[in-house]
């Protein structure tokens, strides 16, 4: 820990291949794709080449960017509500076996029921489309946070629990100073899963709702482009969804790393 490691643009030299190899692979695949499309004369309404997709992305940027913002807004809101409700419920579970016994099965039912199957009902029941989308995304994102945080809260070191008892800690002190910090790695692992699921939930709900208009998200742009056989635009919207998912995952991974880097095994750099 005395010598400062060498870094290139903030990354250790050994870390660069992890970044460059997949990037090169991606470039190679895109090149092969473009070549194949041109060489075999595949019409763009069957499979557009990467260049024409990029072109569609630039041409349709205003509408696509607006749609991206709509979808991201639903995703982030759903994730926030899922985190709040999930952590509160997990704390209640950890405080009382009775609450856990009573409510856990319903959380499981909510989780195992495919969102595509319940989304139409929710959209019928809830007048406000945005609210309906939010509920769908929330249902999908909610479970990993509840279940992971509950496991974390219950797997606190028994000796530390005893130590808190010995020093006469209140229930609240034990929760705040022991159980919640101990559950943090579990919660963060759940959060990373939920981030991706919230996006999937939002997209699925948008598909089912099929709502057009100014406040429509990326899924509707895909449907719309499909109806109009504008396949490059469809691919452009799809690429944006993937990109959004990757960015969400990276952001949550970074958050997790920043919180855990000082103390948790999962955040240890491999060279230590």
């Amino acid at each position: 820990m005395s010598k400062r490691p060498i870094r290139i643009l903030g990354l250790a030299p050994e870390a660069w291949p992890r970044l460059l190899m997949p990037l090169m692979m991606g470039m190679l695949l895109l090149g092969a794709w473009e070549f194949a499309v041109r060489h075999f004369g595949v019409p763009p309404y069957v499979l557009p080449g990467p260049l024409s997709i990029g072109d569609a992305l630039v041409t349709n940027w205003p509408s696509l960017a607006a749609a991206l913002m709509v979808t991201l807004r639903i995703t982030v809101l759903a994730l926030l509500v899922a985190v709040t409700a999930g952590v509160v419920l997990a704390v209640l579970f950890s405080q009382s076996k009775w609450v856990e016994m009573t409510f856990l099965p319903y959380a499981v039912i909510l989780q195992v029921t495919p969102i595509v199957a319940i989304a139409p009902l929710i959209i019928i029941w809830v007048d406000n489309v945005q609210a309906a989308l939010l509920i769908c995304a929330w249902i999908v994102a909610f479970f990993p946070i509840v279940s992971n945080t509950t496991i974390g809260l219950n797997s606190t070191d028994r000796n530390l629990v005893d130590l808190f008892r010995l020093y006469g800690a209140t229930r609240w002190q034990t929760l705040v100073h022991l159980r919640l910090p101990a559950a943090m790695p579990f919660f963060l692992a759940g959060l990373r899963i939920s981030g991706g699921l919230a996006l999937i939930g939002a997209i699925v709900a948008e598909f089912v709702a099929g709502a057009g208009g100014a406040s429509s998200g990326l899924a509707y742009r895909i449907l719309e482009a499909g109806y109009q056989l504008q396949i490059p635009r469809m691919f452009a919207a799809l690429a944006l969804i993937s990109l959004a998912g990757v960015v969400i995952f990276l952001a949550l991974s970074l958050l997790s790393h920043l919180i855990l880097r000082r103390w948790h095994e999962s955040a240890l750099s491999p060279d230590r």
């Binding site: 130590l163 101990a182 103390w263």
Partner: protein, 268 residues
């Protein structure tokens, strides 16, 4: 809550040699523990711990010595008998076999934990925790996290935490059993130095004859099945316990006596 520095004389009774009757920091009477599955872990145990004394509970595994310690700490209920504390609301310190540190807190905050739980203000508890870390030779490691510390250092932090509240009784449950022998010797010496300087009352659970003789003024040998008191041996030894004592014939003789008692307990 003010915490006077450890250098002051502490404990209700006079520190040092055999305290008078009534100078016990804790008295166990007819203590019995039966587990829910029917196993009789401890039966009819009577034990007084004199204030300011260092007592080892020695016995084979399964003799209930850790259970006795947990009952004294209030972490396990008694099936029968009672434990009397002459002093109202006695302060306890507990050192587990594992360091049992919170990995998300620095060494300093781990040591300050008992003070934080008792409502002491941040500045005060940090000052006290720094003193305690200095006492166990870890002043430099205050800002480090447990995973940045070696096994021996973690155990020192654990001991510093147990001493932070200036306990009336320090309970140690095989604290050095998981450490390598060299580290173990070092920590034995450190614990002795701390005890000689501050004369806290301590109950030390171990299955090592050598460790119990080296550290204690009194070794209580327990027998298993059910756990009970088998022998109660005073360890008369020079004031200065060090490497010279560890290699002396006197030490060897004491170890033999205790060993024979332990063997007797296991045969009984």
């Amino acid at each position: 809550m003010p915490h006077p520095p450890l250098t002051e004389t502490q404990g209700p009774g006079p520190a040092g040699t055999m305290p008078p009757a009534g100078g016990a920091v804790v008295s166990l009477r007819d203590v019995t523990k039966r587990y829910p599955n029917g196993t009789l872990a401890v039966e009819g145990l009577d034990l007084d711990i004199a204030a300011g004394s260092f007592v080892s509970l020695l016995g084979p595994s399964g003799c209930g010595k850790s259970t006795v310690l947990r009952m004294m700490a209030g972490l396990a209920p008694l099936t029968a008998g009672h434990i009397a504390w002459p002093q109202a609301a006695p302060r306890l310190g507990f050192v587990f076999q594992e360091p049992t540190l919170m990995p998300w807190q620095t060494a300093l905050d781990n040591v300050a934990l008992p003070l934080k739980l008792s409502g002491m203000a941040r500045a005060g508890r940090h000052r006290r925790a720094r003193e305690m870390l200095a006492l166990v030779g870890l002043a430099e490691a205050a800002g480090r996290y447990p995973r940045e510390l070696s096994g021996g250092m973690k155990m020192r932090v654990s001991i510093a935490r147990a001493l932070a509240t200036e306990p009336d009784l320090l309970l140690l449950d095989e604290p050095f059993a998981a450490l390598d022998e060299i580290t173990r010797f070092r920590l034995n010496n450190d614990l002795l130095r701390l005890w000689e300087a501050h004369r806290f009352s301590a109950v030390f659970v171990t299955h090592s004859v050598f460790e119990s003789v080296y550290l204690s003024q009194r070794v209580v040998v327990m027998a298993a099945g059910p756990g009970r008191l088998f022998a109660d041996l005073p360890i008369e030894a020079p004031a200065a316990r060090d490497e010279a004592f560890r290699t002396s014939p006197h030490y060897a003789a004491l170890c033999r006596t205790v060993s024979e008692a332990l063997a007797g307990g296991m045969a009984a």
